[in-house]
Amino acid sequence: MSGIGLRKLRFSWQYLVWGVLLVLMVGGAMVQSVRAQQPTPSDDEVNAIAKTMYCPVCENVPLDVCPTQACAQWRELIRQKLAEGWTEQQIKDYFVAQYGDRVLGEPPRRGLHWLVYVLPPLSFLAGVLILVNVFRNMRRAKPVIASPDSKVKASSSWDDPYAQQLEEELRRRERGE
């Protein structure tokens, strides 16, 4: 190979290396700019999570409408976590770890909190069972039609001397005595 040919080859290799470096730098810059342009979560997105949580300081105030500075900081924290790609559940778990279960709008389904979910339907079911039982008994309880000649003795009224006296009196009146 001649000297000119070798120079040309070296020259083209230099171009190639510079070209690759240029592509990498431009590509890297584009990735950076895309990352930087990732939109920050909107108020609606933040409030969608915040409304399922409660302010740990001011009782019974949902986080999305709480006007205190502390709540504003927590909403900002939600925005920050969303921007970092956290899911709603991860954000809630973080808040629970930091401030306790009381920040949740719904009690977590574990431990004694299960009572909140189990007791109301159980109580309703027990009430329905009691009602069914009562109605069934009411339907079964047939009226006792007694006649003066009947020999029904089973009724408790026959054990009662006053009831017997009353029956005797009624019978006597019917006979016209």
């Binding site: 740990p56 300081v57 205190t68 500075q69 502390a70 900081q73 927590w74 900002e76 924290l77 629970v96 770890a97 930091q98 401030y99 306790g100 279960d101 009381r102 004694l112 009572l115 007791l119 027990a126 039982n133 069934r136 008994n137 009411m138 079964r140 309880a141 047939k142 006792v144 039609i145 006649s147 000649d149 009947s150 020999k151 029904v152 089973a154 009724s155 408790s156």
Partner: protein, 187 residues
């Protein structure tokens, strides 16, 4: 024509087992309600009362067990970055810490109550707090002390009993007065 029929009492009573289970459930439920109410209406830790041991994980990740500080005086300060009165006392607390920490007989703990970490760290940096500060995770410590707000300062004596409570911003003179008195006491 007469209709004779056997009287039907119609009282098919519930099984005793069901009744017993119902009673157990009811009593258990009432017990839980009672426990909840007792906890809800229990007053704060009072002066002279033994303070249960607790632990604080600082912003730097160090875990401090108060049980390891038996026989020492412990100053517990509850604060938050969103609390303006906390800013008033922060400098005095740091001064008090500077006065006592070399002796090794007094521990200061800053308990950051329901706060966001970046703002809390900024607060610590702003006032140059060098004593251990950390978040009140799951609000366990504040619930134990049954604090009513921030700032609040509690000072525990050498025997582990509560010696001083301040609701609202405290001062260097106030802390020094109590700590000096407690340090003079024999353990």
């Amino acid at each position: 024509m007469s209709t004779d029929s056997q009287p039907n009492t119609g009282s098919r009573s519930l099984s005793p087992v069901i009744i017993a289970i119902s009673f157990v459930v009811l009593i258990g439920f009432l017990y839980l309600i009672g426990q909840g109410l007792r906890r809800a209406y229990a007053g704060p830790i009072t002066i002279g009362q033994k303070v249960p041991a607790f632990e604080l994980t600082t912003f730097e990740g160090e875990v401090i067990h108060t049980a390891d500080w038996q026989g020492k005086v412990i100053v517990v300060n509850f604060w938050a970055s969103w609390c303006k009165p906390c800013e008033q006392e922060a400098v005095d607390l740091e001064r008090a810490w500077q006065r006592y920490h070399l002796g090794g007989e007094v521990l200061f703990l800053g308990v950051n109550y329901v706060d966001t970490e970046p703002e809390a760290r900024a607060f610590v940096a702003k006032f140059g707090l060098t004593y251990p500060n950390g978040p009140d995770l799951r609000t366990k410590i504040s619930q134990m002390f049954r604090i009513q707000g921030v700032p609040e300062t509690y000072i525990i004596d050498r025997s582990g009993r509560l010696a001083f409570v301040k609701k609202g911003p405290t001062t260097l003179n106030e802390i020094s007065g109590v700590v000096d008195r407690l340090l003079a006491q024999t353990p």
